[in-house]
Structure formats: structure tokens, C-alpha cells
Symmetry: C2
Subunit: 216 residues, 2 copies
């Protein structure tokens, strides 16, 4: 017997709204009109609100009683929290993962090559960077941990997208990815974890001065 998994609307609605947040269509600090957005998406306010509350718990949105939902602001203080949590948990996930198979290594190299190729196109580069990190942990058996890191990576992505859009600069980490793979190849798990941390830390070091300057 096959099980047909019906999906609740809130899941698809969440995807759509998160996508708009990540793309900056709903800009940091921007408010959300529930009725309008519900009509736009084509559902009622009920599943929309369910999705919005989920995104609030995940940190993409804020809400004030009676005033509704806003996209969370991008601040230096928040980034200084977010990134260490992210590299710590991704490090934990990497430490809990089996050594990558040859097939996985090849996949990671291929993605990294794509990343190098598209490093001029910010949105594309972010896609491949994200894909590389997800693939690195694809064999990690800890589902809950993976879910947490994925949410955090989406949040980091929002910062990086905004930075790139605003400054026109792109920071690319193909070299760091190579080093992480090399460390894993030599079974130097600890070093790989440290390099992964460095990878994120470099991004944060770009972001912080920008965040401190841009927002008074």
C-alpha cells in the first residue's frame, strides 16, 4: 500500500513567503499585510498566519501585538549571534557525519566548480554555496540538527544577499571549501571543523563593518 502524503497549505505558503524574504522582495523591516498577501498567494489568512508564525519562530520575522508581522532587521548584534551559532552547529553536524564517500567528494568538487564559475552572479553564487554546505552534511544522520542548521543558513543567506546587493561585492569561498575537503580526505575531522568555522567567520568579518556603517 502506498501512502499519499497530502501537504498542508502552510508548508507551501511558508516556502513562498520565505523565498520572498530571502530575495529581499520583503525587505528587512518591511511590514506584511496579511489580507493582501493571502490574496496574492491565493489562500486564506489562516494558513498564511500559520506560516508567518513559523517564520517568526525561526527568526525571519518579528511581530508586535496588534501591529502584525515585519521582516526581521539585519543588525550587527544579530549577525554576531547568528554566525557563531551556525558554525558551531554545522561543526557539530560535520563531526557527526561519516567520512564522505568518493561519490560525495566528486559531487562536492563539482558544486565547488559551479560556484567558481558563477562567482560573479551573486544570487547564483549563493545558491551553489548553500548547496555545497548542504551536500557536505548530506550524510549526517542527525535530522533535527540538520533542520536547525538549514534554518540558520537561510538566515545567513539573507545577510549575505543584502550585503552583495548593497555593496556589489561578492565574497567567494571556493578555496576554503577545497581546504575543508582536503582535511576530510586526510581524515582530519577536527581540522575540517575548524576550517568550516573559519569559512563562516570570513563572511561575518565582511558583514560586520558593513552592518555597523550602514545602520546608524
Amino acid at each position: 500500500m502506498i501512502t499519499i502524503a497530502r501537504a498542508p497549505l502552510r508548508r507551501e505558503v511558508r516556502r513562498i513567503v520565505l523565498d520572498r524574504i530571502l530575495r529581499g522582495e520583503i525587505p528587512p523591516g518591511g511590514g506584511i499585510n496579511e489580507s493582501e498577501l493571502a490574496i496574492d498567494i491565493g489562500v486564506s489568512r489562516t494558513p498564511l498566519r500559520e506560516a508567518l508564525l513559523g517564520l517568526e519562530r525561526e527568526g525571519f520575522l518579528r511581530s508586535e501585538t496588534g501591529r502584525g508581522f515585519f521582516a526581521a532587521a539585519l543588525t550587527a548584534e544579530d549577525a554576531e549571534e547568528l554566525y557563531p551559532i551556525l558554525w558551531t552547529l554545522e561543526g557539530l553536524a560535520l563531526a557527526s557525519s561519516p567520512s564522505p564517500t568518493p561519490a560525495r567528494k566528486a559531487e562536492l568538487e563539482r558544486i565547488n566548480a559551479d560556484l567558481a564559475r558563477y562567482e560573479r552572479i551573486p544570487e547564483r553564487a549563493l545558491d551553489f554555496d548553500r548547496l555545497w554546505h548542504d551536500t557536505l552534511l548530506a550524510a549526517c544522520p542527525k535530522r533535527r540538527l540538520l533542520a536547525m542548521t538549514e534554518v540558520l543558513k537561510d538566515q545567513a543567506r539573507r545577510y549575505e544577499r543584502a550585503y552583495m546587493a548593497d555593496s556589489g561585492r561578492v565574497f567567494v569561498s571556493t578555496r576554503q571549501h577545497e581546504e575543508i575537503l582536503e582535511a576530510l580526505e586526510k581524515d582530519e575531522r577536527e581540522r575540517a571543523v575548524r576550517l568550516l568555522e573559519t569559512n563562516w567567520r570570513v563572511s561575518l568579518d565582511f558583514l560586520l563593518p558593513w552592518l555597523r556603517k550602514a545602520r546608524p
Copy 2:
């Protein structure tokens, strides 16, 4: 002008439902009847569902489309994920905290004394243990990190409560708390973080054999 912060119902409802989950009134695996529970609490299904969805995202509940919400099961696999995440993030929070003031140290010692006094009464002991950990991080400026650790501590508490209720045993960590404080007093932050990890690891080591035996 003062701002009076109205609270949405979902917040209070969440508190009530979480309390029932933590106390085991809604047992692991136990299903939730929305209409019934809504009437019982005295609100409509709307804010109740908002609270339930939040508790699902936090990991206390599961849901299946069309079948509603269940309290998450307690499993060895889940505990093996939960505890490392918890000690890692609490360690990060401790590392980000200023050294405890004399007043704070006194407070921690007082709580630890209460813990020792009530170590025979599981529910009470868990309350004080939780309070001690929260107080340890009370000065940590990273709000988001604190919010995450608090959710995780509530989940650990559900495991520990179930263990104590089932086995009649209580594992008490007053001595470990003292050691952590001593390390902090000597400004040995790293050692304090390691001891904090050990503290949680001891609990996990009690839980795992029990979880593996109890659930086939």
C-alpha cells in the same frame, strides 16, 4: 507615555500546553484533540492551533496531515541529538557571558543548596536544576542563543522527568554545579564549559540505557 503590551492568547496557551507536556499530562505519543483542549483551556481553536504549531516547530509535538498533533516520542536517537546540541549551545552561551558577579555567585550557591535540599522530590529538583542553569546564563547578552537553549532545556527536562517518574531514581548534579562555579571563580572559562558539557552528558548516560530498554 507608557506602552501596555497586550499579549496574544497563543502565548499563554503555549505556556499551558507546554506545562501539560512537561508534566506528562500529555504523555509522549499522546494525541491531542483540538476542540476538546480548546474548550478545556477556554479559547477557540485558532490561538490553540497557533500554539500547537509553535510547539511542533520547537520539537515538543509532531503532527501528521489530517490526523493532528501528538506529543513527540522519547527515543534514544532523539536524546542523542538533543543533548549534544544542548551542551554545545549552552557552552557557547557560557563562553559569551561575563564573569559572574559576587551577587550572582551567591544566587547560584543558594539555588544549588535548594537543589540539594529537595533532591528527593523529582519535580522540585528539576525546577531548581533548571533555575540554576538559567541563572548561570542570566547575564549572557545573546538573546537568541538563550531562547534556543531554553527550549532545548525544556525538552531535556521532559526526558528527565519521564526517567525519574518511571525509574524512581533521581540524578542530582549539585557537585557538578559546584565544580562549574569553582572553575568560573578561577576565571577558567574553558574548563567551566567542559564541565557544563559533562554535567549534561551524565544525564544523557543515565537516560540512554533506560530509553533503549524501555522502548523496543
